[in-house]
């Protein structure tokens, strides 16, 4: 199946270039004039003005770990997110919860939980797959560091970013 694209027939004015050049010049001058008179829309000056307030609910920022209302870490170290992660950014080292602790019934928790933010592609698969609603993508987007080691988020950093999430979160949220 092939298309035959007819070349448009140009009118004399179009072939002369000048009318269209003048038109283009007037458009660009309009933008310049609107800027100079302060009427036009301008890009944000980023570090001073941020768009955090206007981020949509379903924004996919940095993945984080959350604790529940009892202060328990929700992650049970099932390692589903580690398996599903397309760029393999997540590394989990599980450990059994010793008997006698408050949440010993949960049996397992992550000893170490690391997300390599250089590899992370912010796809949100970890959040989708998590059966315990322990990992969420938050609205942090400016993840920076001066070394590779700094860009690997460990467990404390992940909980620090994630904070507390209370109750059940509907996975069938149409915006997610």
């Amino acid at each position: 199946m092939s298309y035959v694209v007819e070349r448009p027939k140009l009118t004399l004015a179009e072939r002369m270039y000048f009318p269209s050049i003048l038109k283009g010049l007037s458009i660009t001058f309009g933008h310049l004039f609107r800027f100079v008179t302060g009427k036009g829309k301008v890009t944000m000056s980023y570090p001073e003005e941020k768009w955090d307030d206007s981020l949509p609910e379903h924004y996919r920022g940095a993945p984080t770990l959350v604790t529940d209302e009892h202060g328990r870490e929700r992650c049970v170290a099932c390692q589903l997110c580690e398996f599903i992660c397309p760029p393999r950014a997540i590394t989990i080292l599980p450990e059994p919860i010793p008997a006698g602790e408050a949440f010993a019934k949960v049996e397992k928790r992550p000893k170490a939980f690391e997300i390599d933010m250089i590899r992370c592609i912010y796809c949100g698969m970890c959040e989708e797959v998590c059966p315990e609603q322990a990992i969420f993508l938050r609205k942090d987007y400016a993840i920076t560091g001066t070394s590779r080691a700094e860009m690997v988020h460990d467990k404390t950093r992940l909980y620090q970013l994630g904070g507390v999430r209370e109750g059940l979160v509907n996975k069938w949220n149409p915006l997610k």
């Binding site: 199946m1 092939s2 298309y3 035959v4 694209v5 007819e6 070349r7």
Partner: protein, 207 residues
Amino acid sequence: MPSVLFYLFSAIMLGFGILVVALRNPVSSALSLAASFLGLAALFVSLGAFFIGVIQVLVYAGAVMVLFLFIIMLLDIQAEQRRKLNLPAVIGGSLLVLVFALQLATVLGDFPAGHRILNAAPLSPTAALEARRAAGTVHASIDQDLAAGKLPDVKLIGETLFSQYNFHLQIIGVLLLVATVGVIVISRREDKTAAPAEPSSPAPTPP
């Protein structure tokens, strides 16, 4: 002061002229030729012939040599191999140079203006103006410049070219036109046999 500059520019011109022949890399030779032209242009300017000096730069250094360089670069001509000296050719060449130098010396010796030093006999625009008035040629702009003591070299060249040598100018123009047309005809003929006629329908483009 001017004589120092004269020797300086002569040295530039001759030095780069020698380099044109001596250097093995064609690009270096072409650039040396351009530098030699610049020296020549400076000599013209020091004689008060601004127009010829500038035209020398504009036409030779600015256009002709750029074209030369363009061709050399496009054909990627490599540095020339050093050949063995051919004794008869060297002797013949030096003889020819000697003969030409002798001829030049005798012609310059007989040329009356060659014996005058420019500083001792400066140009006299007012005298030239009187001579023009006596001859009956009138041109407001030129006369004004001459009366102001300036040398309107561009205007004088233009006047001479378009009045005294107008016929020759036209003939040269026709000659150049013929040459241009000839070049186009020659380069076109090859094109016709090689390239097939344009396809009647435009080639299909992928969606």
